[in-house]
Amino acid sequence: QQPALQPGADPALAQQADPALVKMVPADVAGKPFTVAIALGSPPDDFRNEKGEIVGWEIDILRAATQSLGLGLELRPTTFDTLIPGLQAKRFDAATGQMGVTVVRLKVIDMVGMLTSNELFAAYADSPIQVKTLDDLCGITVATTRGSREMVFAEEHQSKCAAAGKKPINALAFNDGNGAAEAMMSRRADLFWLGSTAVSYFIAQSKGRTKIVGSYTDTSYIGVALPKGSPMAPLLQAAIQHLIDNGTYTKIVTKWGLEKGAIKHAPLNPTNVEK
């Protein structure tokens, strides 16, 4: 049933099924493809390439992980709005799309961490703005995406801007990275603020018209989401740990230039994350 090589799959990352992992797979799951919904967002997380194939570092990790479990992978591209209802409806076994792990979200779903993230700020090449700490954002318009961790950071920092007697951060939440980037390009927003992966890719596409003007790093995770109490969550955790252990994980993060955020242990529902 599973084709030898799915469209967009990287042969260099192909995994053999790991007998120890395969043994853990419950009987009612084995043999069926593992379905993952993807909110196709900004590259290089998960996007369609020139051939229309779904690719990205999250896809690579999930494909390798399911291969280790001896399962097929079925990708279901969608938008953010259906991810969670779809999980709850068991339409999908898992969902991904640069989903940050937060305490609030863990009440609704289970998440396995795959990477720690950091964020970059982009601006026009002629922009005088430099971002060293979040204080530098006070009184400035930043464009980001809805539900992004950046929105949370900005909101939490408003009180500090107020305490310092500065104007609040004007954070615009767009539907997607493109809306945010376009707002910066039309000078609606001073800064474009998103995950480093997305911003780096955008800078590369902008042909020198934009530059990176700062970064913000925290220790929270980006992960894959599963329905609350899903028996597949610990399995997926084990499979990703297996990839970390056998070096495939390193190959993937290197391939996409994400070494900075690489993790040593794949956590299930990590609690050491921001609220």
Partner: protein, 270 residues
Amino acid sequence: MQVIPLRRPWTWAASVLVVLIAAGVAWSVATNPAFGWPVVAEYLFHEQILAGLIRTLELTVTAMLLGLVLGTALAIMRLSDNKLLSTLSWLYIWFFRSVPVLVQLIFWYNFGALYAHITLAIPWGPVLYSASTNSVITPLTAALAGLGLAQAAYTAEVIRAGILSVPSGQTRAAKALGMGPATIFIRIVFPQAMRVIIPPVGNEVISMVKGTSLVSVIAMADLLYTAQLIYARTYETIPLLIVASLWYLAVVSILSIAQHALERHYGRGA
């Protein structure tokens, strides 16, 4: 001799069945935990949701007013004997019905990327006015332009059909009384056209209430987008969509009542 009208026994049976089914569905909806009623209750009157609702209403009212006024003008132009006016109106309707509102919103919002300055000048002459595009086109302007200009194109078609439905004898009678074109339109033709216009315009207004959520592409938070922003953070998608839907149900109910009242008002004398 007693006369008994046609009885439809199945009507009663069906009525009972429908009520039973409705009760069943209501029960099932109320008790199904997947709908997350506690979360719905928590957010129904949440400050952000109410702010989003107000933004929705603001945008609907202003964009619809723009659409109605401009749409009426376009309909009159379209039906005018003047070839220039009717061609212009045709072109406008064609263009603004064609280009998706989403594209128009993105276009107006990001006009600054295309033209950094807006300049009014006499060709080969002095500059009369010049300003940065973003200062002229605020996000609200962009939203109203995107929604209102497109709405005008749709409304124009509806109003055109309404005007055509008024018998020409009415215009002749009004002309014979010495009324000018504006009076004839406002006092005679339009009130009669309203009968045909109201139901489709009711549709357009109700569509617009929900259509305002397109402004999310320019980071404006209407009711639906506010709900989306909240569940983007909390992942409680279904309860928040229910919150938004309940508000939409309330607004549309009020609008339906208004539509009914208007239909009655303009139906008088018929």
